[in-house]
C-alpha cells in the first residue's frame, strides 16, 4: 500500500496571531502603518478628521463620520480613566494565554465621545481587587517579540 508521510509539524502562518503584521509594504501592508511606526517611537496615536473634527479609534484611512480622507495623526492623551474591567483567565486566545490570568479593561482618554476615545487594553501590573471604576490609568507602549526575529508594537494600561 502506498503511504504518504506527513511532516511532524505543520507550518501555521499568522492565522491565530491577533496582531496586525504591521508592515509598511508588501502583501501584508496596512494603510495605517503610521499607527505602528508611532507606537515604535513610544506614542499611542490615532486619526482625527481635519474636516469634521471626529477622532476615530482604531485609526483608519477614511473618516467614517464624513468619509473625508483629510486626516491627521494625533497623540491620545496619556492619562485616562478606568471605565470597566474584568479578568481573562479561561478560554484565553492562544498566544496571549501565556500571560493569563490578566485584567482586561476599557478606559477613556480625553473628552469621550466628543473629543476622545474609549479603548480596550490589558492591565498587567494590577490585580482585579486593586482596581475600581474611575481609577486614573495611563497607556504604555509594549514590544511584541517573535515569531523569530519579528518585532511589533502594542500598548497596555497601567494604574497610576
Amino acid at each position: 500500500m502506498r503511504t504518504i508521510k506527513l511532516p511532524d509539524t505543520i507550518k501555521l502562518p499568522t492565522l491565530l496571531d491577533p496582531w496586525d503584521q504591521q508592515e509598511p509594504s508588501g502583501p501584508d501592508a496596512t494603510g495605517i502603518y503610521n499607527f505602528y511606526r508611532n507606537l515604535a517611537e513610544g506614542d499611542l496615536t490615532t486619526t482625527k478628521c481635519k474636516d469634521c473634527g471626529k477622532m476615530n479609534f482604531p485609526p483608519t484611512m477614511l473618516c467614517s463620520n464624513c468619509l473625508s480622507n483629510n486626516l491627521e495623526w494625533v497623540k491620545i492623551p496619556e492619562e485616562g480613566e478606568l471605565y470597566a474591567f474584568s479578568v481573562m483567565a479561561l478560554g484565553v486566545p492562544l498566544i496571549i494565554d501565556t500571560y493569563a490570568p490578566f485584567v482586561v479593561a476599557i478606559a477613556r482618554f480625553g473628552d469621550y465621545p466628543e473629543n476622545g476615545v474609549q479603548i480596550s487594553g490589558i492591565i498587567f501590573d494590577s490585580k482585579y481587587e486593586e482596581l475600581k471604576i474611575g481609577d486614573k490609568v495611563k497607556w504604555e507602549v509594549i514590544e511584541i517579540q517573535g515569531p523569530g526575529e519579528k518585532k511589533r508594537y502594542w500598548y497596555c494600561f497601567r494604574k497610576i
Binding site: L16, P18, W19, D20, N56, F57, P58, Y83, A84, F85, S86, V87, M88, A89, L90, G91, V92, P93, L94, I95, I96, D97, A100, F102, V104, I106, P113, V117, Q118, I119, S120, G121, I122, Y128, I133, W154
Partner: protein, 398 residues
C-alpha cells in the same frame, strides 16, 4: 406582500456532541422533514443556512450548497448562507421570510448549524476574538466573557443590579431547561450554586455564561397558500427589525449598560407590528450571559430602564408572570451553537404554539411571541415576531 408561516421544525440534541458538522446538518434536516409529512422535498425552492464560523471551527466554507447536497435538495430560487456571528440563524429566517413574502420563494428551508467543540478547544476559543475587531480588541483578549462581565459591572454601577439578581436568571432558565430534552444542561440550580460556581470573568461565574455548543436546528417557512397544504397548525411570521448602532469596536459602544441598538430595534419592531410589550406572551431572548437577559427586559420595554434586576427578583419573567421569558431554558440551558440559536428560538415558538412542549414549561394560552437574537458584543440586535393568529396587515417598513 404575502403572509408567511412556520410550518415545521426540527432540532438536534444540543451539547458536546460526538458528531461532525455534516452529521448535525443531516440530523436536523431529517427531523424537520419528519415534522412535515405532507412536504415533498422537491417543493423546497429556497435554502438559507445560518452558520457563523465553519471556516475556522471545521475549516469548511461554501456551506449552503453543501447543506443542499447533504439533504438532497435542488434549489431553484434562493440559496445563501448568512453570517452575523451569534445572530446568523435569525438572519437566515428573516431573509427566507422576505423572499416568501415578496413572492420570490414559496417554500424555504432554513437551517442553522455550528460545531464548536473539537479536539482543539484552544483554537475554537481563539476564534471568538474574531467576532470583535480582530487587530484592535483581539490582542487585548476581548472574547465574550470579559466583555459581558464589564457590561454587568457597569449595569451594577449605574443601577445597583446585584450578583443575586444575575443568578436568578440562571435559576429560572435552568428550571425550564430541566424540562427540555434537547438542552445541553438539564439540571435545576439554586442562587447559591450559581454564586458559588467557578469564577470566569468577575462578576460572571461559570453558571452566568452560556456554553460552546454543537447543534443544529431547522424550520420550514411557506407562503400562506402552501402553508395550508402543509400543516394544520401554522405559526405566522409577523416580521422583524434589526439594528446595528454600536458599530463594532469598543470605541463606538458608548455606555455599556445602555443597549441603544436593541432599544431602537424594539421601537421599530413595535411600530411595524403594532404590538406593545404588554401584548407579548412568550419572549425567547438572547441570554448568552445572565446580564444580557436583564438588559433585554429593559430595552424590550418589559420594565423600566434599570429595573431588569427587580423584574426577575419579582418573578415577572416566569411563566405566569408578565411575560414568559425563555421557557425553552434559553441559551444558558440549551447552549449556544451560534448559527443554530436563532432557529432554535423559532423552533421553540412553533412547539409552544402547537402545545408540543412538556407541562411545566408550556405557556398556556399564548398568542404572540418574539425571538431576540444579538451578536458579538451586543453590537447587532434582531427581533422576529410570531403569532398563532394570521396577521391582518403586513409591513416591511414605513
Amino acid at each position: 406582500m404575502r403572509n408567511v408561516a412556520l410550518v415545521a421544525g426540527g432540532i438536534t440534541k444540543f451539547g458536546v456532541r460526538e458528531a461532525s458538522w455534516k452529521d448535525l446538518v443531516q440530523e436536523a434536516g431529517k427531523a424537520v422533514f419528519e415534522d412535515c409529512p405532507n412536504l415533498d422535498r422537491k417543493d423546497i425552492d429556497s435554502l438559507i443556512v445560518g452558520a457563523s464560523q465553519p471556516e475556522r471551527w471545521v475549516y469548511q466554507t461554501h456551506v449552503a450548497p453543501l447543506v443542499a447536497e447533504l439533504l438532497g435538495i435542488d434549489v431553484r430560487r434562493v440559496i445563501a448562507r448568512t453570517e452575523v456571528a451569534c445572530a446568523s440563524g435569525q438572519a437566515a429566517i428573516r431573509y427566507a421570510w422576505l423572499s416568501i413574502a415578496t413572492g420570490l420563494s414559496d417554500v424555504a428551508l432554513v437551517l442553522g448549524v455550528e460545531k464548536m467543540n473539537t479536539k482543539f478547544m484552544d483554537v475554537s476559543q481563539t476564534c471568538m476574538v474574531n467576532v470583535g475587531n480582530r487587530e484592535f480588541d483581539g490582542p487585548n483578549g476581548f472574547t465574550a466573557p470579559p466583555f459581558f462581565a464589564m457590561v454587568a459591572q457597569r449595569h451594577m454601577h449605574e443601577y445597583g443590579t446585584t450578583n443575586e439578581q444575575l443568578a436568578m436568571i440562571r435559576v429560572k432558565n435552568a428550571k425550564y431547561g430541566a424540562l427540555n430534552p434537547y438542552a445541553q444542561f438539564q439540571k435545576e440550580v439554586t442562587v447559591e450554586k450559581v454564586l458559588g460556581s467557578r469564577m470566569i470573568s468577575p462578576p460572571l461565574t461559570l453558571l452566568d455564561c452560556s456554553a460552546m455548543t454543537d447543534g443544529a436546528a431547522a424550520v420550514i417557512l411557506a407562503s400562506e397558500e402552501r402553508a395550508k397544504e402543509l400543516t394544520d397548525t401554522p405559526v405566522w411570521v409577523l416580521g422583524g427589525a434589526q439594528s446595528v448602532l454600536h458599530a463594532h469596536t469598543v470605541n463606538q459602544m458608548g455606555e455599556l449598560s445602555e443597549w441603544l441598538g436593541l432599544r431602537e430595534a424594539a421601537k421599530e419592531f413595535y411600530s411595524l407590528t403594532k404590538l406593545e410589550p404588554e401584548k407579548i406572551d412568550i419572549a425567547e431572548v438572547h441570554d448568552c450571559f445572565t446580564i444580557s437577559e436583564i438588559i433585554e427586559y429593559e430595552e424590550l420595554g418589559f420594565c423600566k430602564k434599570g429595573e431588569g434586576g427587580k423584574f426577575i427578583e419579582e418573578g415577572q419573567s416566569y411563566i405566569g408572570g408578565k411575560v414568559a421569558v425563555n421557557p425553552s431554558g434559553g441559551l444558558l440551558s440549551n447552549g449556544h451553537p451560534l448559527g443554530a440559536t436563532g432557529i432554535r428560538q423559532a423552533w421553540e415558538v412553533l412547539m409552544q404554539f402547537r402545545g408540543d412542549v412538556p407541562k411545566g414549561r408550556y405557556v398556556d394560552g399564548a398568542k404572540v411571541a418574539i425571538a431576540h437574537n444579538l451578536s458579538g458584543m451586543a453590537q447587532l440586535h434582531h427581533i422576529m415576531g410570531y403569532s398563532i393568529e394570521k396577521p391582518k396587515e403586513l409591513k416591511f417598513g414605513r
